[in-house]
Amino acid sequence: MPKELHPYGVLLRPIITEKSTLLTGLDKYVFEVDVRANKNQIKDAVQLAFNVRVAEVNTMKMKGKPKRFGRRVTNRPDWKKAIVTLVPGDKIELFEGI
């Protein structure tokens, strides 16, 4: 049963790192997404937001890292990372800067 999740709430932020920049060359874009979102929702959200065609979505759940406050150890929240592969030729301008 798909949860009630508005497409605009799916994509939280683009992940821009050395690795993700490397993936851009393969038409893959990396996002942090809502943990509840599934691949279909992510595909829809990306197509809607950037007006591109999505070929494939891979997701993974990232475990929050343990952080220490003095003696107390707490965990950062878990999150979901999505690697979105576009149809060759399509681009997301956001990652190019400008």
């Binding site: 992940i15 821009i16 790192t17 050395e18 920049t21 800067g97 400008i98």
Partner: protein
């Protein structure tokens, strides 16, 4: 590259340079690489961030500014070369625009020197004449030097040498309410002072010397003299003073006769008779006068040269000259220099300013003489340098060869050459102003002198002339 070149006064050139886009792009690329190395951008190791990330972090302007650090000097140097600007100092650079990159460079260039019609300069030599008085004066000095003293028991007269004690006090002015005691203030105390009584001579205060006339050995005398108003110590000016004079010894000065004996005493090897001494004295005076006249003619020639020449030289040359003069005068001790400045109560700028005029004159003279030497093709030969070395080493006697070696370094030879160059230039100048500057063939010192001799002109060459 669009370049506008403009000449400014004080021998400067202003360049307005606009950098081509292509050129800018290339330098932006390398600027990005440099910037990336130190940029810390989250998600990237230093040096690994892509260009658009760097540009976003620093802005395009930031990137351009980084590029300018290298771009501007590079472009400047290229332009200097391309436009053949004879720059002699570091430029002042000012960025006018970033896109496209436009900047202004102001740089001092080699001075322009136009000597004008320097070959028409003439300076008239004054004939040198040795008067009998001048000879007599020197003879007297010589006789005095060999004078013998004889203690006499008679009142002192002019010409005698006295040994005296002098004690002087300023007479005190008892203030109201004070007792009768005087408030004498010590003014001078001198024991066993030796001096020669001369007509119209002033000793400390006018009248004091005269007071000794007529005193014999053993006499004591008190004189009252009012200190003159122009006395060098202000608080003593105009005060009445009392001096106690004690004469201990009166000696008469016995001048030797002008005879062959004296001649032998002066120098037995050189002089057979006193007439020889006289002849030598006359000769020496003439030599000195001729030299004096040489210097005067030369200085006048240089003044005239400066007058007709047109010079445009950069300020930095004057500044550098001031640097030299200050360090010549002050040595290299910064601390001492600072202490001196605070003692005379001036800032460094003010102090430097006091040298400016002299420095400027030196720069002008150096430039003009340098140009003159060049124009006249003066170039000391190897043989000239050798001869000069011999001349310098000659008085060293046995040490001569060792001394020569000291100078046989590239630096030493360069120094000698430089001295010779300025010496020969000045000689050439002397020849020109005497109307003998027409043979343009050689510029040797000996040749110049020889030419003068041929024409019967009295233009001796001065031995010492430093730049």
């Amino acid at each position: 590259m669009k370049v506008t070149l403009e000449r400014l006064p004080e021998s400067r050139v202003q360049l307005d340079i606009e950098v081509d886009d292509e050129r800018l792009e290339k330098s932006l690329d390398s600027a990005y690489k440099r910037l990336a190395q130190k940029a810390r951008i989250p998600g990237f190791r230093p040096g690994k961030a892509p260009r658009h990330m760097i540009e976003r972090a620093y802005g395009r302007e930031g990137l351009i500014r980084e590029a300018l650090d290298r771009l501007v000097p590079d472009v400047y140097n290229e332009t200097i070369e391309q436009e053949d600007v004879p720059a002699i100092a570091q430029p002042e650079l000012e960025i006018l625009e970033l896109e496209p990159v436009r900047f202004k460079a102001t740089v001092a260039v080699r001075p322009t020197i136009d000597l004008g019609d320097y070959r028409s300069i003439r300076v008239e030599r004054q004939p040198v004449e040795v008067t009998d008085e001048q000879v007599e004066e020197t003879v007297m000095t010589l006789r005095r030097r060999f004078a013998e003293r004889e203690t006499v028991e008679r009142p002192a007269a002019h010409g005698d040498v006295l040994t005296v004690d002098v004690e002087g006090v300023i007479k005190g002015q008892p203030a109201e309410g004070d007792t009768e005691e005087t408030f004498d203030e010590p003014f001078v105390q001198d024991t066993d002072a030796e001096f020669q009584l001369k007509e119209g001579q002033d000793l400390l205060v006018p009248g004091l010397a005269e007071a000794f006339v007529g005193m014999s050995a053993g006499d004591v005398k008190t004189v009252d003299i009012t200190i003159p108003d122009d006395f060098r110590v202000e608080r003593f000016q105009g005060k009445p003073a009392s001096f106690t004079l004690t004469v201990k010894l009166v000696e008469e000065e016995k001048l030797p006769e002008e005879d062959d004996e004296l001649a032998a005493k002066v120098n037995a090897d050189d002089f057979k008779s006193f007439a020889d001494v006289r002849a030598r004295i006359r000769e020496d005076i003439e030599k000195a006068l001729v030299e004096q006249e040489d210097t005067r003619v030369r200085n006048e020639a240089i003044d005239k040269l400066l007058e007709i020449a047109t010079l445009d030289f950069p300020r930095v040359m004057v500044e550098r000259e001031i640097d030299h003069m200050v360090s010549d005068a002050m040595g290299n001790d910064r601390q001492q220099y600072a202490a001196y400045l605070s003692r005379i109560g001036r800032s460094e700028e003010e102090f430097r300013e006091t040298w400016r005029e002299a420095a400027e004159l030196r720069v002008r003279r150096a430039l003009i003489l340098g140009e003159l030497g060049e124009k006249e093709g003066i170039d000391p030969t190897e043989a000239d340098v050798e001869a000069e070395l011999d001349r310098i080493a000659a008085p060293m006697g046995e040490e001569a060869s060792r001394f020569r070696e000291l100078f046989m370094t590239p630096d030493g030879i360069a120094t000698i050459r430089r001295n010779l160059l300025s010496q020969q230039t000045l000689e050439r100048l002397s020849a020109i102003v005497a109307g003998n500057g027409d043979d343009n063939t050689v510029a040797g010192a000996t040749e110049a002198a020889a030419t003068n001799d041929d024409l019967g002109e009295n233009v001796p060459t001065t031995e010492e002339e430093r730049a």
